[in-house]
């Protein structure tokens, strides 16, 4: 591995890290502002102009809070839990192509940390690991409420992972590749995968809500009524990590939804504009468009949170297992039939 490549990869990693952090940081601010606007309030406006320094103030507050380690808990695992949650949230961004390769001196400059040819599986694998952060944290707290919260959270996440995976299977059938990069590149023609997979998109979106533990699936936390869920015993920045990981997850899942179903960095009339603005300019624009899509989805996440009430737990399980799972299987069958339509027609004619 040449040192140039190493530097470039390191730079990309830093970029993804910084982007996730900054977006997540300002999502917390955005969440509070949007919540306020949806409820006809003003929202945070004290720290800095328009309250823009609010996330920093929150961060400082989190750091200054008293650090507590439950006496009888398993210390290592107690610390490992939030670290794992944070780490898993940050590693997913690796496979997302942020922009079309930009040409510098005839050298393509890829805006992606790694183009694994099984990118989707990678995402899925990392997501399935995400449960551990919650389970370990809940168990290590040595508190029955935290343990119950962890079990509640993990069974929710496992249940919705299935439907999510199956909805991706249908997508993979239409695209014929597991690489996120290629899937985005295929949507270059202007028609995004959403058109082919409306049902799959809907299932994926709902599952993304459940996987990120956002309302209406925020039973793991239940800020408003239960004993706080799996992070009952957590305080200070360890709690901050859990909360922050949720926002990073939201950012990353928005990015993945935009890439898989809404064309990623592609945007309408890109080819026409290439003649006017030049190739690289259009690609930079595409980068902006991807972020616009991501912010759109983050807004959707928040909008839903401040609109819908929470599910009851049995309703949640029923929705996951009895509605979304059969629907996603149906989606696979329909997609299969659609893909084989010519062969089927031949068969009928014969």
């Amino acid at each position: 591995m040449s040192s140039e490549l190493l530097f470039y990869k390191l730079g990309m990693v830093l970029f993804v890290f910084a982007a996730s952090m900054v977006v997540a940081l300002y999502s917390t601010y955005g969440e509070r502002k949007i919540a306020a606007f949806l409820q006809d309030r003003i929202g945070p406006n004290r720290a800095g102009p328009f309250g823009l320094l609010q996330p920093l103030a929150d961060g400082i507050k989190m750091f200054m809070k008293e650090e507590m380690l439950p006496e009888a808990s398993s210390k290592w695992l107690f610390v490992l839990g939030p670290c794992l949650a944070m780490m898993v949230a940050l590693t997913t961004g690796v496979v997302i192509p942020w922009a079309k390769p930009i040409m510098l001196d005839g050298q393509p400059f890829h805006f992606q940390v790694s183009d694994i040819n099984i990118g989707i599986l990678y995402v899925f694998g990392v997501v399935s690991i995400g449960v551990y952060g919650i389970m370990i944290g809940g168990w290590a707290s040595n508190n029955k409420f935290a343990l119950l919260g962890a079990l509640r959270a993990s069974s929710q996440m496992i249940s919705y992972e299935l439907a999510m995976g199956l909805s991706i299977v249908a997508l993979v059938m239409t695209t014929g590749t597991l690489s996120v990069n290629e899937i985005v590149a295929q949507q270059d023609a202007g028609i995004c995968n959403f058109v082919y997979q409306p049902l799959g998109f809907l299932i994926f979106l709902i599952c993304a809500f459940a996987e990120t533990n956002r309302a209406p699936f925020d039973l793991p936390e239940c800020e408003s009524e239960l004993v706080g869920g799996y992070h009952t015993e957590y305080s200070s920045m360890k709690l901050g990590f859990y909360l922050f990981a949720e926002y990073i997850n939201m950012f990353i899942s928005s990015a993945i939804i935009s890439c898989l179903y809404f064309g990623g960095y592609n945007f309408p009339f890109a080819h026409e504009m290439e003649g006017i603005l030049g190739e690289n300019m259009v690609r930079v624009l595409g980068f902006g468009f991807l972020f616009a899509k991501i912010f759109g989805f983050i807004f959707l996440f928040m909008w839903v949170r401040w609109t819908l009430p929470r599910f009851r737990y049995d309703q949640l399980m029923n929705l996951g297992w009895k509605v979304l799972l059969p629907l996603s299987i149906l989606n696979i069958v329909l997609t299969g039939l659609f893909l084989m339509r010519n062969e089927l027609l031949d068969l009928i004619i014969k």
């Binding site: 099984i118 990678y122 399935s128 168990w139 079990l151 993990s154």
Partner: protein, 166 residues
């Protein structure tokens, strides 16, 4: 060079964590060490250029099966204090079975060099498209049979999980 270091690192990690699975007194720690073992084995798959297998290994074993294990163990609330002392009879049985296992391992590794080595394997067999082609052409029957096996076990699990209404 780099891959070699990675290989040694992963191997040591795998063996260490596998041993820790057996040695740790707390079942939850055992499960977590097992997860680490699975990860290091997935790393080995990566080194062998079969990313698909590696990812599926992580998703299925670490991401699903071990979570369920952890789930059950947490629910049972086993800890070191409640672990009963094994009787001498059980200990003896464990020694005998372990010894037998050891014997088989030693014999099989000794005779490993006599096995015909299948050379002409495509080094890219682990890549998903190649793997898919092989699975669905050459090994169609075993693949489908194993899926039927899964289906049967799934039906069985549902049957067990149902309330008895008769």
């Amino acid at each position: 060079m780099l891959t070699q270091y990675a290989f040694y690192f992963l191997s040591i990690l795998a063996i260490f964590s596998a041993l820790m699975v057996v040695f740790s007194r707390n079942p939850v720690h055992s499960v977590l060490y097992l997860v680490v073992t699975f990860f290091s084995i997935a790393g080995h798959y990566f080194l062998m250029n079969s990313q698909f297998l590696a990812m599926v290994h992580i998703i299925v074993y670490a991401g699903a099966i071990m979570v369920l294990f952890l789930y059950v163990i947490m629910m049972l609330n086993l800890n070191t204090d409640t672990e009963p002392n094994k009787s001498n009879w059980v200990k003896g049985a464990a020694v005998v079975t372990g010894g037998l296992m050891m014997l088989i391992l030693v014999v099989s590794t000794k005779s490993a060099d006599q096995l015909p080595i299948q050379k002409a394997l495509n080094p890219n067999i682990g890549l998903i498209s190649n793997l898919g082609k092989v699975l669905y052409n050459e090994y169609m029957l075993p693949f489908e049979v194993s899926s039927i096996l899964f289906l049967v076990s799934m039906v069985g699990a549902v049957m067990l999980g149902k309330k008895e209404t008769y």
